[in-house]
């Protein structure tokens, strides 16, 4: 089987400031189809930088990145745009929703650039289904500043899923969510992963990382550990546990 993601000795050096920042210092990694990878690491360890590169938003300074066997360095900007559009779903650390634009329209956004073009009612139908997947169907007409942080995060996830990508990249998808909602989102990810979607996510919390199948730990732009998750958490069990805990807390108080 061909890896979805294959990077070899990847470097990313930022030259924007006074001194160059070596954010990623030689990472090699393979992610096979159907994997569910969690990337962990301290703040500033280069997780977002790596994700941006994986998402074809940024080009590496050095090293090779192949997505589905295609060397990204050989692709022009239109080909990269097409990959971002239908192959990859990207959830940003800071949501990146269009302000003053409804949740529905935000979710429809990738479909505006789809090839072949989709009819308007089909776009609407798919966007609503995607919002339903993250439990936000009843907030379709709200604009981002009428939504809580967690709800905005879920709109961003719905947008990433709307064109049915084969690779989901999520940078801190649960960073703004409470425990219960985090578990629900992980449930969505696990379901998508069970259906065959490859998922790579960044998280700070070990509790969240343990919903994945594989955990990668980064430090100072390098991979320090790469482990299989065992035992793995499932959202159904965790939800039941949280519900029981809540009930117990209620009984106590």
């Amino acid at each position: 089987m061909k890896p979805v993601i294959e990077i070899v000795d990847l470097h990313r050096i930022y030259n924007t400031g006074a001194t160059p920042v070596h954010a990623v210092r030689g990472i090699s990694l393979r992610v096979m189809p159907g994997e569910f990878v969690a990337i962990m690491g301290a703040s500033g360890s280069g997780k977002s930088t790596l994700m941006n590169t994986l998402g074809c938003l940024d080009r590496p300074t050095r090293g090779i990145y192949r997505i589905d066997g295609t060397n990204v360095a050989a692709l022009d900007s239109d080909a990269l745009a097409a990959i971002r559009n239908h192959k990859i779903g990207f959830v940003f650390q800071g949501f990146n929703l269009l302000s003053r634009t409804t949740a529905l329209e935000n979710v429809e956004l990738p479909m505006l650039y789809a090839h072949p073009p989709l009819p308007g009612d089909e776009m609407r139908r798919r966007a609503l289904r995607s919002l339903g997947q993250v439990g936000l169907a009843n907030r379709a007409d709200h604009v981002p500043n009428q939504l809580s942080g967690g709800q905005q995060q879920r709109v961003a996830i719905a947008r990433a899923l709307v064109l049915g990508p084969s690779l989901l990249l999520a940078d801190e998808p649960t960073g703004n969510l409470d425990t219960r909602t985090s578990i629900e989102i992980m449930g969505v990810f696990q379901k998508l992963n069970d259906a065959g979607m490859t998922v790579v996510m960044v998280t700070h919390e070990l509790d969240v990382a343990r919903f994945a199948r594989r955990i990668i730990i980064m430090r100072d732009g390098r991979i320090r550990r790469d482990d299989v998750v065992n035992p793995r958490l499932t959202s159904a069990e965790e939800l039941a546990r949280v519900a029981a805990e809540e009930q117990a807390a209620d009984l106590v108080s």
Partner: protein, 406 residues
């Protein structure tokens, strides 16, 4: 097609989001197009009117005026110099071939009194051929005859305005009018002619035989001008040459010296007037063009601001799969919509303003369809031209840099 609608919808939404700014940006184009449409409409209307007025001078008319502009000052020009005599006119009628009608002309502003009403009108001494010459029909009564001319009869034909001032709504035919205190009988009433190119009311006149005018009213033996009409358009030039030769000979002007008279044919006047109108239209058009250009620069300015403001939005669109050309198309569409909608509003306002002005000042206005199509196309071109640079700037953004933009 479907995609185009989607793009237009997105652009409209973006423009609606900042409605005030959108309107202010369009104002430049609106004013520019309004100016173009208004000026072209008024200019075209004016030209049509001038053409009508020139036609109203009569057919194939040649005017000989006393004095010469290029000789001496203002006063000696335009009929003020005593160089044309009645004998010149008589000789001209007799000796020049191809003359259909001839009328000498003297004039002065004189008080007319009828009953207890009085009015200052331009009294013109003309020949019995004057009305034929100017293709000016009578509304009532008769014109004076050759005998009246020879006998210096005290007969007067009134213009519409003069008649109204002296007789109000009653018929003036047969009544007596005192001109400079001398009683004249009203024999005819002219039909209305309206105002001339200079805006003077041509109906504010009283016509008397030129002999009567020279002897009894003005006591002068020289003419202001001689008007002649050629038998047909092709003989105008020939007639003009003959007149010039005859008058130079009669006035004993040595070869190489300037004429002491001026000959103007109707064709020349038409040419002058239309070329003046064309120059004016061109000039006004240029001014309007400049304001359109300023409007375009306004669009470019706002689009540049908009690109900067919406850098994050552009980043998001790029991140979800928009290609450079999608971004380019979106911003270009916005610019073109701005200018086209502005242009359409401008066309509407321009036509409204010019027809309002026309009604106010009694001008004819015509909005030629080329002006409408032209200004619509021009505003679209302005949108594309001035929208291109900002749109390209937007499309050149790097997705990750754009997303990071605060």
């Amino acid at each position: 097609m479907k995609r185009l609608f989607a793009i237009i919808r997105v652009a409209l939404r973006a423009l609606r989001r900042n409605l005030m700014r959108t309107l202010l940006t369009m104002l430049g184009i609106i004013i520019g197009v309004t100016a173009v449409i208004g000026m072209v409409s008024i200019g075209t209307g004016a030209r049509v009117q001038v053409e009508q007025q020139i036609a109203a001078l009569g057919q194939n008319v040649v005017m000989i005026m006393a004095g010469n502009m290029s000789r001496g000052g203002m006063f000696s020009g335009m009929g003020g110099a005593p160089t044309l005599t009645l004998d010149d006119a008589v000789a001209l009628r007799k000796e020049v071939d191809g003359v259909a009608y001839m009328s000498p002309e003297v004039r002065g502003n004189v008080q007319l009194v009828a009953g207890n009403l009085n009015w200052n009108a331009s009294v013109m001494g003309v020949s019995h051929e004057y009305l034929d010459l100017r293709a000016w029909p009578l509304a009532e009564g008769d014109f004076f005859t050759e005998e009246d001319i020879n006998g210096a009869a005290r007969k007067v034909v009134l213009g519409q305005t003069t008649a109204k001032k002296l007789f109000e709504d009653a018929s003036p035919i047969g009544a007596t009018v005192r001109v400079k205190g001398i009683p004249f009988t009203v024999v005819g009433l002219l039909s209305a002619k309206g105002s001339n190119m200079m805006g003077q009311d041509q109906d504010d006149v009283a016509l008397v035989p030129h002999t009567t005018a020279m002897r009894r009213l003005f006591g002068q033996n020289f003419l202001r001008s001689i008007n002649v009409s050629a038998t047909d358009a092709s003989s105008i030039e020939n007639v003009t040459t003959q007149i010039s030769e005859l008058l130079r000979q009669r006035h004993r002007i040595l070869p190489g010296r300037d004429d002491d008279f001026m000959i103007r044919s109707q064709a020349e006047i038409t040419e002058f007037a239309t070329s003046t109108a064309k120059t004016m239209t061109g000039l006004l058009g240029a001014i309007a063009g400049v304001s359109l250009l300023v409007g375009g620069i306004g669009i470019m300015n706002i689009m540049l601001v908009s690109v900067t403001e919406r850098t994050r939005e552009i980043g998001i669109r790029l991140a979800v799969g928009a290609r450079k050309r999608d971004i380019m198309r979106q911003f270009l569409t916005e610019a073109v919509l701005l200018s086209i909608v502005g242009g359409l509003i401008g066309i509407g306002v321009g036509m409204g303003v010019s027809s309002a002005l026309a009604a106010q000042f009694n001008w004819p206005t015509l909005t030629p369809s080329y002006a409408i199509v032209g200004s619509f196309a021009f505003s679209a071109v302005i949108g594309i031209f001035f929208g291109y640079y900002p749109a390209r700037k937007a499309a050149q953004l790097d997705p990750i840099e754009a997303l990071r933009y605060e």
